[in-house]
């Protein structure tokens, strides 16, 4: 099993990297670039036997380390 985890800043938390990327894209001539949010992507190989067990394990990892839930949301996908 592989957990594919996306960690992103919550709405309302200033994303300074996103702002810089937005300005950079505009500087390169891209038109119509709206809000940009920069996040983190983590892939983890898991020994879990079932999708449900893998998902539960990955969510626990997010709560304990991979995300700071004061400012970040996370989304877990499980691939076999």
């Amino acid at each position: 099993m592989k957990a594919k985890i996306h960690v992103t800043l919550k709405n309302g938390v200033l994303d300074v990297q996103g702002k810089a990327v937005q300005a950079g894209l505009a500087g390169l001539g891209f038109q119509g670039v709206g809000d940009v949010r920069v996040g983190r992507y983590v892939e983890i190989e898991l020994a879990a036997r079932s999708r449900a067990a893998a998902e539960a394990e990955a969510k626990k990892m997010c709560e304990k380390l991979l995300a700071n839930t004061v400012i970040e949301n996370y989304r877990v996908e499980i691939a076999e």
């Binding site: 938390v13 200033l14 380390l65 400012i71």
Partner: protein, 236 residues
Amino acid sequence: MKSAIVVFPGSNREGDVADALQRASGKRPELVWHSTGALPAKLDLIVLPGGFSYGDYLRCGAMAARSPIMREVVARAKAGTPTLGVCNGFQILCESGLLPGVLLSNAGLKFICRDVHLKVATRRSLFTHRYAAGQVLRFPVAHHDGNYFADAGTLKRLEDRDQIAFRYCTPAGETDADGNPNGSARNIAGVFNAAKTVLGLMPHPENATDPATASALGGTTDGKTLFDAIVEAVSK
């Protein structure tokens, strides 16, 4: 006074804090390498120094906050042992849950290394009781992620319960946008836990304690008062 400074891979201000504490207390703190696993018994003060622990991997302070020695730091701090976190130490205290909120990247996206002005928000703590209320201090900062953030409810609670220690301000003491170097919510530069036995702040009081350095480089000794205050409080 018996104090310990916890050193992680990538900590770099432990010597400066040790010098500042020695200057204030006459006694050299013990440096405790994170993997030794145990803090000395009966400590009067625990310090988490500045630096870039674990290369700021994942989030500033995140890895250090989950290291085994932090379980002991959290237990001692919760039992009332005074605990000070400066810069990366503040980030670690937030990541470990001992202090509310989190430090985001500076609003201007730049690393800031210069002196800043701070206003003493309260003198009712073991760390700040020797300052005057509203006193304006000058400490150096050196950080990329010092932008204090907490949700609106937490910020209100911090203000209602007198848990804000220092605010960034202009040289004249105005706590406005001009005096805010990094975008911190409500100009917050340092906060206490509810019991006010744990203090975290981004500026470096330890680098404003040495008269020779201050006169040679045009700095201040405003930070010495903080260390003197701790020594006085724990010696009672």
